[in-house]
Symmetry: C2
Subunit: 198 residues, 2 copies
């Protein structure tokens, strides 16, 4: 049977991190991010002194479902560092791993960090007006390497799903995005990375 759902008009508000007209939201707080950063002591210090506001959040619209639908949302990540590492999202691979995702930079200065399952690592800088196409079969996360909120618009298939555990099981992604000591960022091999097992 054909299900026809209404079109959706949404308004992006990067300054407040909102997608007006969306129908879902989740937030990640500092306490949710244990194990994400290599410097456990720096993480604990940050966690104990944190003001309790979310470190990152997503507002999204998902109305069609099924094979043909697309989920659209805004992803917002506060600036900061823990040890040498910049603030980042957990990252994921799509459960249907051939499903692609589009990210469009809206505010701030970020890096889209990508690992292919066959061992490639790519870091692409993304700011307002830049778009990153994440093809299928790439693990990906956002990293805020600036001093302001980083926000992106994203779109991916409703049936894609997410494997959020894949990075943890691999000891982190292949590369770390760290402060370079000169106000910028650098990509460095992660000595804990063990490779991916689906």
């Amino acid at each position: 049977m054909t299900t026809v759902v209404p079109p959706v008009l949404m308004h992006l508000r990067p300054e407040t991190g909102e997608l007006i007209g969306s129908n879902g939201r989740y937030e990640k707080f500092i306490g949710d991010l244990a194990g994400l950063y290599r410097d456990a002591q720096a993480f604990e210090g940050r966690r104990d002194s944190h003001d309790g506001s979310p470190v990152y959040w997503v507002e999204s619209s998902d109305t069609q479902g099924g094979e043909g639908g697309l989920i659209t949302g805004i992803s917002v990540l506060e600036p900061g560092t823990i040890g040498e590492e910049y603030y980042m999202t957990r990252g994921h691979l799509h459960q249907k791993s051939d499903r692609a995702e589009l990210y469009l930079g809206l505010s701030g200065k970020g890096v889209m960090l990508l690992d292919s399952l066959d061992g490639q690592s790519v870091a692409l800088e993304i700011g307002p007006g830049d778009a990153v196409y994440v093809p299928g079969h790439w693990v990906h996360r956002s990293v805020n390497v600036g001093t302001e909120r980083m926000s992106t618009l994203f779109s991916y298939a409703c049936d894609a799903g997410q494997d959020y555990g894949i990075i943890e099981r691999a000891g982190g992604m292949k590369s770390l995005i760290v402060i370079d000591g000169d106000g910028g960022w650098a990509s460095r091999p992660n000595p804990d990375h063990t490779g991916y097992n689906l």
Copy 2:
């Protein structure tokens, strides 16, 4: 077999209507648009006096193909009117009609005009920072109701395909987007519309 293609970094340039890093482009000229507007005399006059620049064009990136891939592009439509009607794209329904599409307004002032196959007609204004989600089973076109170039970012599944003839076969879309005599736009029933036959 799993095909892994590289991520793609692109840069949107709404001021020039470019998507830097894309790998495809098509243009529509005034001579390509015969039959699109109701006022044939006004159309012929415009065609005969036109400077030959494209009326609208698309630059897009399509690298993954297959079921999981997304096509990403910029759609750019010059401002103008022919008779009472504002400049518009031909419009389409996806060949796999359940495939959705996302549009994000980048510049100018437009209308996303949508007809469902079961007889609904919706007109949504879209400008910078507005996003329109076009669910599956909706015929859709862009209309430039402003005085500047209208540009949008779009994303849809690589396997969606387009039926560009559906609107012509139906005598046009259900509604016309016309000048309202007060500097704005209005939606009015199209007396030529016969309903859709796939």
